[in-house]
């Protein structure tokens, strides 16, 4: 009975799914297919190499400090780091005096203790990197209705991670002269509207953020590294990898220890397993006499022979 109902229900599902398939196929074959401009012009991030890549990856502190310089001199004009406090900069090699100085150069929103009016004061090490805008509406108004996102987690919140960030920062192109891999020019309807900027690394090709890194030497690196646009983009991407995953280094280190421990445990448990089963086979074969039925026979034989037991 269940089988008859089952077959009927099965035929029902198969038919309705087939019905959808049929119409879907007819529609698919009948429709004209042209790939959307987003498909044709969007390019995957370039492959950069970062010190933090791979299972043994560690942060390059000098690069993180350079990236922090780029953030504080360029990005922080629009973007906050809500989950990163100034004190966290100790993790990338700044000392306490430097951190106090960095924090005090930033105005953070507060309330005037005398009047209760909102005001700002110089930052303290415990403060987070604030947004330059008073609120989201203010951020939208100043940026063609696209509020600049908080950057703390941006590397983990975008497909492609740090590669994507570095590619995007260096990926702005002139929409009038740009040709994709097939040599096609950008269709007029995909040209950036007023206030937008063309960038083939951005999923829908046009974004509100103007090119932030425009010329060599925009930032003067404290360590003397030549600040090319490419260098700055990679450095800030590395810095944002740290803000998104500050525990990456300890995770990799702990991971290595755990994996080595578990490898040893796996080998030991393999030998334990083989050992138990080797004796098991002997024991199982040898338990013949210990089986209840055999014990009973043996007891009976003992009784027959007059042996106590």
């Amino acid at each position: 009975m269940v089988r008859i109902f089952g077959i009927l229900a099965g035929l029902g599902f198969v038919f309705v799914a087939f019905w959808s398939l049929l119409w879907g196929t007819i529609e698919y074959l009948g429709a004209e297919h042209h790939e959307s401009a987003e498909h044709r012009f969007h390019v995957s991030p370039r492959n950069y190499s970062f010190a933090s890549d791979g299972p043994f990856g560690r942060f390059d502190q000098r690069q993180l400090q350079r990236g922090f310089q780029v953030y504080s001199q360029v990005c922080s004009g629009c973007h906050s780091l809500n989950y990163v406090a100034f004190r966290n900069l100790a993790e990338i090699g700044y000392n306490e005096a430097e951190i106090r100085k960095i924090a005090s150069n930033v105005q953070v929103p507060d309330v005037n203790p005398q009047t209760g009016e909102p005001n700002t004061r110089p930052g303290l090490p415990a403060d987070r990197f604030p947004s330059p805008y008073a609120n989201e509406t203010a951020a939208r108004v100043s940026n063609h209705n696209a509020a600049p996102p908080d950057l703390s987690l941006i590397v983990k919140a975008r497909h492609g991670g740090a590669d994507y960030i570095a590619s995007l920062l260096t990926g702005y192109r002139n929409p009038a002269t740009y040709r994709n891999g097939e040599g096609e020019a950008l269709p007029a309807e995909n040209r950036p509207a007023e206030g937008l900027h063309f960038n083939p690394y951005f999923p829908n090709l046009n974004l509100a953020m103007p090119p932030p890194l425009t010329s060599e030497g925009q930032v003067t690196y404290a360590d003397g590294t030549r600040p090319t646009v490419d260098q700055m983009a990679q450095d800030v991407a590395a810095f944002l990898t740290w803000t998104a995953e500050p525990n990456l280094q300890s995770r990799h280190r702990a991971g290595l220890a755990v994996v080595l421990f578990l490898l040893a445990a796996t080998v030991l448990s393999w030998f334990a397993y083989k050992n138990v089963w080797a004796t098991a086979k002997r024991a199982v074969r040898a338990t013949g006499p210990l089986d209840p039925a055999n014990m009973a026979k043996s007891d009976a034989a003992k009784r027959d022979a007059g042996i106590a037991g």
């Binding site: 089952g6 959808s20 196929t25 002997r282």
Partner: protein, 435 residues
């Protein structure tokens, strides 16, 4: 329960005897997972996955309880409380990554466990109740995992909750009221988050309870085995401990190794980048996809694109739930007396097609709802339902199966007559007891 030759618990110390006489818990454990549970001696490594699933649940409960100490079930602060765990709680990143990836690994081992059952006919008499309780656990797992994914209150959390609860909205007449009742509001909201957190904390303990029933029901007939032949006597079994505890121990080490590799070196690989963006009811993500373990069912849901008497969306919902509900009827849909797929050549062929089919469904479920993925998932959906509801019922009646071995030990010992000889014969009796 168990076989008559099961070893009885004998307390090794006065203390254990004292306990055992007043509360026979040691006896219960000994009979359940100790030397007192005789298990077929021929189990292969696919029989490790039940224990692995149990361990995975344990990991989820332990990490989850600690995470709950730091998590904030509040729509305004949930996201930042997760970041607080990641950044400021000692080893919080480890707890959270272990919990998030532990869920994925729980599903991996459970899916292998379920397919093991499908191949070896573990749903057949006398183990129907084991199978049914297992499916209850599976449903509870899916509910728990879904609600857990909502808790970080990222973009995928929010929109996933909206889409999945929206499925209930497809039910005629009561749908919308039901959806509002589930969410506690008209869209995912503070009330949704707090009730999901409450249930997410509750359900794992319900799962643990049903697992006890699952194991209890299993111990009535005892474990099945790769031949599907019933245990005939003591020569067919070994005690669970130490033989299968040792074997499970090795499997557990491998499982932990794989889990550690992902937790420490690719913790976000199985997740979605969008869930690191705080929930925003005003911005719909480009694609809304559930976690990977729901993809096969998501593909079935989206395969129904045309109205046919009922609206397409309702068909999708019925089919998605139907694809799981039909598993409850396996024992009756496939009444072939031969349990193991090893002795059912045609069944085996269809089984492997099903495995590929479910993988294809999973692949399509993770892709955007556009061609050719929709067509592929429609074909895969047709096979899925045809396999369980049409092919198996017919196959079980018409298939010519291979001859079964007479006993487990015969199949294990490959006809070595002396070793396979029943106990008490000279060949066995001459061996000395060494253990």
């Amino acid at each position: 329960m168990g076989f008559p030759w099961a070893q009885q618990y004998e307390p090794k110390s006065g203390f254990m005897r004292w306990i055992d006489q007043r509360l026979p818990l040691p006896r219960l454990v000994y009979g359940a997972v100790g030397g007192g549970y005789p298990v077929p001696r021929n189990l292969n490594h696919f029989w490790n996955f039940g224990v692995l699933a149990g361990v995975a649940l344990g990991i989820q409960i332990v990490t989850g309880i600690v995470l709950a100490m730091h998590y904030n079930a509040n729509a305004d602060t949930a996201f930042s409380s997760v970041e607080h765990i990641m950044r400021n709680v000692n080893q919080g990143w480890f707890l959270r990554y272990l919990h998030a990836n532990g869920a994925s690994f729980f599903f991996i081992v459970t899916y292998i466990h379920i397919f093991r059952g499908l191949y070896y006919g573990s749903y057949k008499a006398p183990r129907e109740m084991v199978w049914l309780l297992g499916l209850v656990i599976f449903l509870l797992m899916m509910a728990t995992a879904f609600m857990g994914y909502v808790l970080p209150w990222g973009q995928m959390s929010f929109w996933g909750a909206k889409v999945i609860t929206g499925l209930f909205g497809a039910i005629p007449l009561v749908g919308e009221a039901l959806q509002t009742w589930l969410l506690g509001s008209f869209a995912p909201d503070q009330s949704t988050l707090t009730r999901f957190f409450s249930l997410h904390y509750l359900l794992p303990f319900v799962i643990a309870g049903v697992i006890i029933l699952h194991i209890w029901a299993l111990h009535i007939p005892g474990s099945s085995n790769p031949t599907g032949v019933d245990v005939k006597g003591p020569q067919d079994t070994v005690p669970f401990h130490p033989y299968y505890t040792a074997k499970d121990g090795f499997a557990l080490a491998l499982f932990m190794l794989a889990l550690a590799a992902v937790v420490f070196f690719a913790p976000n690989y199985l997740g979605h980048a969008d869930n690191y963006i705080p929930a925003n009811p005003l911005a719909t993500p480009a694609e809304i996809v559930p976690e990977w373990y729901f993809w096969p069912f998501y593909a079935i849901l989206r395969s129904f694109t045309e109205d046919f008497i009922l609206p397409a969306k309702l068909w999708g919902v019925i089919a998605m739930f139907g694809s799981i509900v039909l598993l409850f009827f396996m024992s009756w849909l496939d009444p072939s007396p031969v349990r193991s797929g090893n002795y059912r050549p045609t069944f085996r062929l269809f089984f492997w097609i099903l495995v590929v089919d479910v993988i294809v469904l999973g692949y399509c479920g993770g892709k955007p709802a556009e061609q050719p993925y929709v067509m592929i998932s429609q074909i895969a959906t047709i096979y899925y339902f045809a396999h369980f509801l049409i092919i198996l019922p017919i196959l079980s009646k018409v298939e010519r199966t291979l001859p079964l071995p007479n006993s487990i030990s015969e199949s294990v010992l490959h006809g070595e007559a002396a070793e396979a000889a029943p106990y008490g014969t000279p060949a066995a009796a001459t061996q000395t007891t060494t253990a």
